[in-house]
């Protein structure tokens, strides 16, 4: 139980700290690196929540796929200019403040409505073998959404290719 808490707090601190650094770094490559760190920390959270399949998916897909895409794009667009420009826009102070207000309000809502949400601890101490269960549910109960998602990916792929073509 203790280990559980230690893992959670470690990964949570890592995730939040990396996220803050990611948002504040001037250089996009640095941001990307801190985003990877955040994502890895979140993957750790997943593992702590006994979602092994998602843990693997998180690492392979996010860190291995999406982030490589990001790094490629950062490489393609001219970073030397962007580095020297202002990193925050005009509305940054107002926006930051309002974002914090939003977070505060969410906390207030959560706290004042605590009874209404009926949240509890973890009833089941262990989860059944995760990957097998996910597969079963995905290919039976959510088979149609799965196929729709595949079409979404196809569309996205074609869209990205068309977008990146020199002449449309």
């Amino acid at each position: 139980m203790m280990l559980d808490s230690i893992l959670f707090y470690f990964f949570a601190a890592l995730a939040v700290g990396s996220a803050i650094l990611m948002v504040t770094r001037r250089n996009a490559v640095h941001s990307a690196v801190f985003l990877i760190s955040t994502l890895l920390a979140i993957a750790g959270i997943f593992l702590q929540l006994q979602a092994e399949f998602l843990f693997v998916v998180q690492i392979i897909l996010y860190v291995g796929g999406i982030m490589v895409l990001f790094v490629f794009v950062i490489m393609l667009v001219n970073l030397d200019v962007a580095v020297r420009q202002m990193k925050f826009n005009r509305q940054s102070w107002v926006a930051g403040l309002l974002a914090l207000v939003l977070g505060g309000l969410a906390v207030v809502v959560y706290r004042s409505g605590g009874g209404a949400f009926n949240l509890m601890g973890a009833p089941a101490t262990t989860m059944p073998p995760n990957a097998e269960q996910v597969g079963t549910v995905l290919f039976q109960k959510y088979f149609l959404p799965f196929e729709i998602a595949s079409i979404l990916l196809l569309v996205a792929m074609i869209g990205a290719v068309v977008m990146a073509k020199r002449k449309i």
């Binding site: 949570a12 948002v23 929540l49 990193k87 969410a106 089941a124």
Partner: protein
């Protein structure tokens, strides 16, 4: 496990950081990264509730969200490439042609 509220606060913190990133940064690539962060914050929530209910349905939703994130990243970055080819900038406040 730890109470769900822990995960909710973590998720909220990451969400707010992501929102701040989206609202304040000028670099569109970092804005896209911040969106990924927001999506991941949602994922944490889903995972936590999945664990709470002892059901994998939440994880299935998380998979869909990851799929969506991948698609969004691909298309968004493609847009950035195409835009960059026409106007050599990646700054969001300079991409203001689409108005009235």
């Amino acid at each position: 496990m730890l109470p769900v509220s822990h995960y909710i606060y973590l998720s909220l913190a990451l969400f707010i950081i992501g929102v701040i990133g989206v609202l304040t940064r000028r670099n569109v690539i970092i804005i896209l990264m911040s969106i990924e962060l927001i999506l991941n914050a949602v994922n944490i929530n889903l995972m936590a509730f999945s664990r709470m209910w002892g059901s994998v349905d939440g994880q299935i939703f998380a998979i869909f969200i990851i799929t969506d994130a991948a698609a969004e990243a691909a298309v968004g970055l493609g847009i950035i490439i195409a835009f960059f080819r026409n106007r050599p900038t990646v700054l969001a406040d300079e991409m203001d042609l689409l108005k009235w």
